[in-house]
Amino acid sequence: MEFERIDNIPTETIEGYRVRPGKPLPFGVSSVPGGLNFSVYTSAGTSCTLVLFSRSEASPLAEIKVPDHYRIGDVYSIVVYDLDYEDLEYGFRIDGPFEPERGNRFDKSKVLMDPYARVISGRDEWGLDPDWSRAYQYRSRVAFDDFDWEGDSPLEIDDADLVIYELHVRSFTKNDNSGVKFKGTYAGIVEKVPYLKALGINAVELMPVFEFDEFENSRIHPDTGEKLYNYWGYSTVAFFAPKAGFAASGKFGMQMDEFKQLVKELHKEGIEVILDVVFNHTAEGNERGPSISFKGLDNKIYYMLTPEGYYFNFSGTGNTLNCNNPVVRNLVLDCLRYWASEYHIDGFRFDLASILGRDPWGAPLSNPPLLESLAFDPILSSCKLIAEAWDAGGLYQVGTFPAYGRWSEWNGKYRDTARRYLKGDDGQLGEMAQRVQGSPDLYQWNGRSPATSINFITCHDGFTLADLVSFNGKHNEANGENNSDGGDDNHSWNCGAEGWTDDAEINSLRMRQCMNAIGVLLTSRGTPMLLMGDELGRSQHGNNNAYCIDSEVSWVDWSLLESNRKLFEFTQSLINFRHQHKCLRINRFDHEGSNYLPSCSFHGTKPWEVNWSAGSKQLGWLMSCDDEATGHMDAVFVASNVAHYACWFDLPRLPDEYQWQLCYNTGDRDSPSQANPTQYHENGILVGERSMTIFAASPRET
């Protein structure tokens, strides 16, 4: 016997809408037969009104005050029937005390965005001036999952096998010469998937794609008149919604589908998707910033506040999300689970992650519950978790970030050491040797592995690779802050002239230095990360902090693919080389090497002898393992000379049945990559000034 269900029948009518008490979980909007369930949390709010809008209309369609008896604990929930959810936009008004000194900032005149909203309208097309007269700017919409994934699932590539490519969605294809139809969008990246595949990378790390407002703090440059934006988007408006302005279909509200299509197309080519996520702060700023959502829902729960009710500012951007409050912790978990399951995301990189390990008063926790929850979450168990292991409040945790065996880190020490080493600073050999083998000084003592280290020399913060070898100092005038923004510890060297020059020798040296950097990066253990366009010699004209620039300065110039063809081919070939040579990707510090050679050994101009003194500028590294599939030894030898003169390196001897092949020589201007490496007959090689050579062992033909 089956009864008709009676748990889904409207119980009353409010403002002409049929309603009934809702379910408190899940938060946000969910679909029930015939209606929508709305659920929102506020611990100190005293009443809740659901505000409904017809799409794009300034004034509400209806305001439904949620009856007090619909509240369970601190959660208001209501089911509303017969809504046209394609046309619907909604928000909440929460009443409660306005007493900033006690942390409460309720204001029932404000319509607040649902923090769990999956689609946001209001910034549907990039750069379209918003109508600021509207009271409700970032408008929650309703969306459900009907995307056809065609059997796709996250790729789960081994951390040690990844080659990550960091990119900004708009910058990647916005340039007129990108050759794509949908410039500057998710769909534009889809058109460039063949390029990414050909380059050989197997993960993209997308700079923020959670809905943000490019107009936050936007302004006109006082001298140039250029419009400056919140271009990078490290300031989240809505954690569950993909940025509409990055979608060519954003004006139709179809950014979810377009973003999923991007993930699906990348996965088809074996490329993972890692999202750069910003949980350390929000777009609501400090006491002078707007009330978008959290501030009006429950200010003192969501933000870290001083005893006087002001905002702590560990993020350097106005406020700090109170991540280790249990309620906020759950929001972060819900968000990441949503992106992992709904969007098939393969990993997350956490901006200023050290903030996530602070207690509600800002003190670093030894066992931060949020980081632990993320590390052991059942849905996130195959996701990469990557920390930017520092914050703007002075906490620097590279090597000590609470990892729970799961977290890896952007290794800022790798970047700094490699830069100093490559420009020939004294006293760098010892530390470079640590970095090359996966930074055991940072990660071995606590049982972590080489792939814990995300190795990079450049990222969105700081100089591009071409600028690193062309500028001694930053040139950030275009940012409109009198060149006072951006870091000064760039460890860069302009190779003899500041900025662009016609001097062929300088340009040739710069090209070599770019190749040396890519060479070191791709022959180090750990997970390498490249910045978009570095394989093409992309420049930002010395701007090391182009966070506000939406112009050719920050867009990838695709004409470089022709003019810097050799650099592209070198990078492409070396990525492939890394994929071929397991010995470069060993992910254990206690690995014993091959039958003949240690796992990782260091050499100078004489094999097995390194001159570790401060003035020494020559370092070789030899990595080796046995390849079980072929039964052969895999070995790679790198000889690098960062001195301004050439040096002879004797090659380490191989067992009789193997021979060296010279694969790369950055000192060979015409052919830095050997197309068909053949047996190398000499016992050594003259490595040119500021050059490196890379050899691979191959079985001797008998």
Binding site: R55, D84, E86, D87, D146, F147, D148, E150, K181, F182, T185, Y186, A187, V190, A247, A248, S249, F252, G253, M254, D257, E258, K260, Q261, K264
Partner: protein
Amino acid sequence: MSLTIEVTQGDIHVTITLSGDVDTKTAPDLLSKLTALELHALEQLRLDLQAVEFVSSAGLRAIVFAKQKMPHESALYLIGASEQIVDTITKTGLAQAVRIVNSADEI
């Protein structure tokens, strides 16, 4: 702008000819016409979009809905869709669910 919807039954297919805009207001009409068909047994559905300028996300979802209700080996043709409509379908990954042709002669 209104939408007129004309349904014609062929031998093995149904043609729905649309004229006007498929927007938030008119998409429900299209959806109700689609649900009135015996979708689960339909071999071929032809949507003639030659006189349509704009299809909103609600309209595209109605089309996806129809395809998902139809048998796996069935075909859903979009006839004469404008470049903008085809673009949107391509960008959002709906293109693999449908077959895009310029005119019924190509079927």
